[in-house]
Amino acid sequence: MSDRVQTLTPQDVLARADELQRQLGGRFRDKIVESLYHEAEHIARRAVHHRTDRHWDLDQRIDRLVTSPIFGMPLMLLVLAAIFWVTIAGANYPSELLATGLFWFEARAVELFNAWGVPWWVTGFLWHGVYRSLAWVFSVMLPPMAIFFPLFTILEDLGYLPRVAFNLDWLFQKSGAHGKQALTMAMGFGCNAAGVIATRTIDSPRERLIAILTNNFVPCNGRFPTLIMLATIFVAAAFPPAFASLAAAGAVVAVVLLGVLFTLLVSWGLSRTILKGEASAFTLELPPYRRPSVMRILYTSLIDRTLFVLWRAIIVAAPAGAVIWILANISVGGTSLAQHTADLLNPQGVAIGLDGVILLAFVIAIPANEIVVPTILMMYLGTGMMIELEGFEQLRALLVDQHGWTLLTAVNLMLFSLLHNPCGTTIWTIWKETRSRKWTLVGALMPLGIGFLVTFLTATAVHAIGWI
């Protein structure tokens, strides 16, 4: 016995294993899965009793309705429109409340610091710079996110969202993407970083990457206020009062649709060029309908969102506030650093129909897009801190009469805020989800490139026609 063991060297064992491997053939994995299912079936047959129950019938009836060729799409649009309306309308008041509270606190703190005789620049840096930007981001972002995401989660719990993906898949199939991208896009309306995280539900790597890279083409809650303001001041003003609000809403919808169009186009382009050789397979589970546990969703998502927004405000918005304050308050040769930089950026800004101040605001607002407009206003008014104006009339006077904004400026600003690099949090999330420097870079720079191109083209075309 013992000398048989001795004659068997490791090489022999490996060679034997190789030989056996070759006899096994390529299909042994299939066999394993088959036997697993066979066993499971066997157990289920003994342990589970089926009865023909009405629940099935109801599920199928609902399915037939929500995926029906006639009612499916309108129903879906109705539900999505309702969610947006509730979010925008419902977030207004709490946003204002939060802002009032937080800025009241700032004023008190500044008074206190002044009473203690703290130098003005310490007070300015801490309260007008860091704290103000933090408060701004928090009050703008928290209410819409705290309303939007629970509603979305309820729909998901209900089982409706997979049916939306099912209905829209044909559109995404044509552009080489996955139907679930419709859902990650819808999440992107709430927050692009959340949309990027939501792509985890897409199980084929290629389609998931497409969804990650194009998520930024839907405007998030942080960019919506900018779009709404511009639409109200500029687009609505070009129409008679009776149609004004309709025109403003139409402009915002047009921008959103443009974003969807760009998503599809870029997905199509990506899937035919740089993402050609990645695995792809489409499968989508349509789970049975369930009653969502509303209270649990409300509780967890309120806690989650508050923590997320607070974390983001502290990590990214506060440093941005510090930079803004420093740029606006350190002067060289009588003009602030911010003004110097804006002058430097002015030619590029003008070439794409904007100006240096707007471009600078976009650079500063990389961490958080919510502060683009406050930064622009700060620069125009020379206040040295971010600011918001009461009432659209005053705003209009400042932008149009003093700084020469035209309809082209407004339209290009809307375009550029739709098509530019994702915010810092989203870039960070792309990096965390892909773990690839290359894809993070593509995700950040591709939308920016497209933005420059599109705005440059519109500006050039408008100038060429001599319209402005």
């Binding site: 299912y37 898949d169 044909w170 050789g277």
Partner: protein
């Protein structure tokens, strides 16, 4: 003006610091050296591959044939050969070049890398068969032996590459190919394509254009001096003898893979019920695993339940759950239409036991 100077110095210092950081981060010199080493390795390995090919076709490799294959100048080639001889990879007998046993071992490793990578690209990345070769030509020089073994294990130790060529084992063993060229196959005998030759490229492109690939079952319908007509269950193909000689076939395996008997899940009408027979052998890697995971194993009963406005995807009930599949997935599932209960007329939801 003084302010201007301060600014200039500040910007210069900042730029210098940034350049230093970049240099330290990117290490351009080390990168360049690595690139050189890789190029040298690629040259060695391409030479070894050429010698191995010559050995297989039992002709002598010469300096001229090597120069032609590598596209190297007459000046650089002798140096390369001298270096390879010094490394003990080849021996020269007069004009003829021969692989040493070490050289052969290395050459087989390169072939293994090439074919494994092709298998990987075809199965996991879904790259079309026509684009595999070029991608693998680049990747074969970059894979380390450890990466190769990991790749081999990950793919489940495949035996053949997507063209049907045998993949050498880590020990360098090559399973022989037992097949006949299509030109020598008897008329009307069911056959399975086991190998398509990927060189010369012109002929391979013709094979790709006809959508013929290993794993397909075919039959020769007609043999003429100028052409050959074959049938694959769906369509007829007319091939010139040159093309047909580059396709190798063997006896078709027994079972449900007879082309005529296959109905696909994608062919079922709305509400129709069927039983899964098998998954198409062409469906491999990632997409095959997905379909299996969803429970589309032989014997499972399936039913088409929902089709949206634009016809795709369709929702299919399998094992009590509803899943949506696009047409491109559903064609991979072969079914036997066992309408035990007559499709549409049946009340939904009652047929499940």
């Amino acid at each position: 003006m003084e302010n201007g100077w301060i600014w200039l110095w500040f910007v210069l210092a900042l730029g210098g610091l940034l350049a230093l950081r970049l240099w330290a981060r990117l290490r351009p010199l080390a990168r360049w050296r690595r690139w050189r080493a890789l190029r040298e390795r690629a040259l060695f390995e391409d030479a070894l591959k050429h010698l191995l090919t010559c050995e297989h076709s039992s002709r002598d490799a010469t300096v001229e044939s090597l120069a032609g294959s590598l596209g190297l100048s007459q000046k650089r080639l002798p140096r390369l050969i001298a270096r390879m001889e010094a490394a003990g990879l080849l021996r020269s007998h007069g004009a003829a070049l021969h692989l040493s046993s070490e050289g052969k071992q290395w050459a087989l490793r390169v072939v293994r890398a090439h074919r494994l990578w092709e298998r990987y690209l075809a199965d996991e990345a879904g790259l079309p068969i026509g684009e595999l070769h070029h991608a693998a030509e680049r990747a074969e020089h970059r894979l380390t032996p450890e990466e190769l073994d990991a790749l081999d294990a990950h793919l489940g130790h495949p035996l053949r590459d997507p063209h049907g060529d045998p993949i050498p084992t880590a020990a360098g063993a090559v399973a022989p190919l037992e097949a006949l060229p299509l030109t020598d196959w008897p008329l009307d005998q069911p056959a399975q394509i086991v190998h398509v030759e990927d060189e010369p490229e012109v002929i391979f492109k013709e094979i790709v254009a006809e959508r013929l690939h290993p794993g397909m079952s075919v039959r020769i319908l007609e043999r003429m001096p100028e052409y050959l007509t074959i049938y694959d269950g769906q369509a007829e193909h007319r091939l010139t003898p040159v093309v047909a000689a580059n396709i190798h076939v063997a006896k078709a395996p027994e079972g449900p893979s007879q082309p005529e008997e296959r109905i696909r899940l994608a062919d079922l009408a709305d509400g129709e019920e069927a039983e899964v027979v098998a998954l198409d052998p062409d469906c491999r890697g990632f997409s095959r695993r997905r379909l299996l995971d969803l429970g589309l194993t032989p014997g499972a009963r399936v039913r088409v339940e929902l089709s949206p406005a634009f016809g795709e995807p369709r929702a299919i009930r399998v094992r009590g759950t509803l899943i949506a599949l696009r047409r491109e997935q559903a064609v991979h599932v072969c079914v036997r239409s066992g309408s035990r209960s007559g499709g549409k007329t049946q009340k939904p939801g009652v047929s499940r036991q």
